[in-house]
Assembly symmetry: C2
Homo-oligomer: 281 residues x 2
Amino acid sequence: MSTDDLNLVPITDPHDERVADYVRLRDVSLRRSLEVEQGLFIAEGEKVIRRALAARFRPRSFLLAPRWIDSLADQLAAHPEVPVYVVSEALAEEVTGFHVHRGALASMVRHTRWQQADLMGMQRLVVCEDIVDHANVGAILRSAAGMGWDGCLLAPRAADPLYRRAIKVSMGAVFSLPWARVESWAQVVPQLHEAGFLTLALALDERSRPLPDVAASLADDQRVAILLGTEGEGLSRRWIEQADQVVRIPMGHGIDSLNVAAASAVACYALGPSGRPSAEG
Amino acid sequence: MSTDDLNLVPITDPHDERVADYVRLRDVSLRRSLEVEQGLFIAEGEKVIRRALAARFRPRSFLLAPRWIDSLADQLAAHPEVPVYVVSEALAEEVTGFHVHRGALASMVRHTRWQQADLMGMQRLVVCEDIVDHANVGAILRSAAGMGWDGCLLAPRAADPLYRRAIKVSMGAVFSLPWARVESWAQVVPQLHEAGFLTLALALDERSRPLPDVAASLADDQRVAILLGTEGEGLSRRWIEQADQVVRIPMGHGIDSLNVAAASAVACYALGPSGRPSAEG
């Protein structure tokens, strides 16, 4: 493919307004306000950019070092109206504030695809309370999607799944797995009950039952929502008290807990379709 | 407790030779050679330091901001021969090259506690091939310990469990769970067979069986070793071919794999004691 067909725009000044979408990508508080205000998010790396485009998110612009043009040329050509800012790796670092290993960035139009109501008819949901670490939210979405869960609800304080690092850790699962913010932290657990979900709080508690016992007692068609809290504090008392059951992963060696990403992977496996013996098995 | 009993040594010069153990903690290649040469490792944060001391690793020195002295005073007093370098937070940052959130560091004597032979009599082992990411190795050790596995073998190229970040992510599980380097990458799988282990390679492969089927077919007293490869390349052909069985975690939503830390947590759960329904269940 000739690069003549592409909308290539060389950039040489790090303060050029045209690359303002990409400034200081590691400055979490700046990015949070900038991305929401401007209605954008950043996809990093060829694979993640391809997944965002495949999921029909619309690009605002691309920012690439010259050697990445060829590998993305088909996608760039498919969006001839979208500018492709071509920068040296040094300038990319100056703009973004870090060394962009994977050489390619895209600024995409942020939009909300699902509301809580869209997820309330599903079979299996992961519900994140105040998980503020972007890598954890990304890992949870990846595991949930991988294990065949249907969607994820996020409490108001949980980290943004469309933040660059969450997207990257999720390997793009944030684009395919439906997720939504809950409307009310205090009401979501009762709302799940009304919708027919069995709610399972993952926590250490005097009434907690071992995960394998809970898994063995689930009917195949039982609608399930797993409630996950932050690593430090765990779930709030409110959610634990509202939940139908409290579940713990049995632990050994004096270890009291797993990382929340590992715990969610285990719970999604044990309580979902991935953990069932197959017909042949 | 009066601080008079403690061996407090104020440090005001970042180039002071006495704090040479703590320089540039984020410079992986520098730290690798320095720590092995000097026979030390770094424990970060009060909780991790306490766990290292509880596991009877010997401190060479402590490096603390003044506000952390009280919280560790019992441990500092228990080691009156060990210098406690007291530094401002600014100086700590100048020495270590980053902002030490948790305010306390200890330099500990590195020593090898177990050899491969010590682990070959155990019941359940995790075997890491070339997992070079310190956070992944730490997470795998934490999950393995938490799920009641007995030990971990590491191929020659796998990351160092006593590297600061691996220790931190493991929450100190690297101190309690036995681990050792394998003597021979090419021979370890046959050696595991000789020792009576069923070896299970976690990989996508034409002969891979779903994890729940494999879990259901295991006898209670079966000795098991799970083989884990890097996230990018996965296990080597050699280890996959040498393994008794190849196992995959069933996946949905077009996701092809989990992060290796999540995958190892799921495998340790499904194939170990944590995943068995309890007597009451």
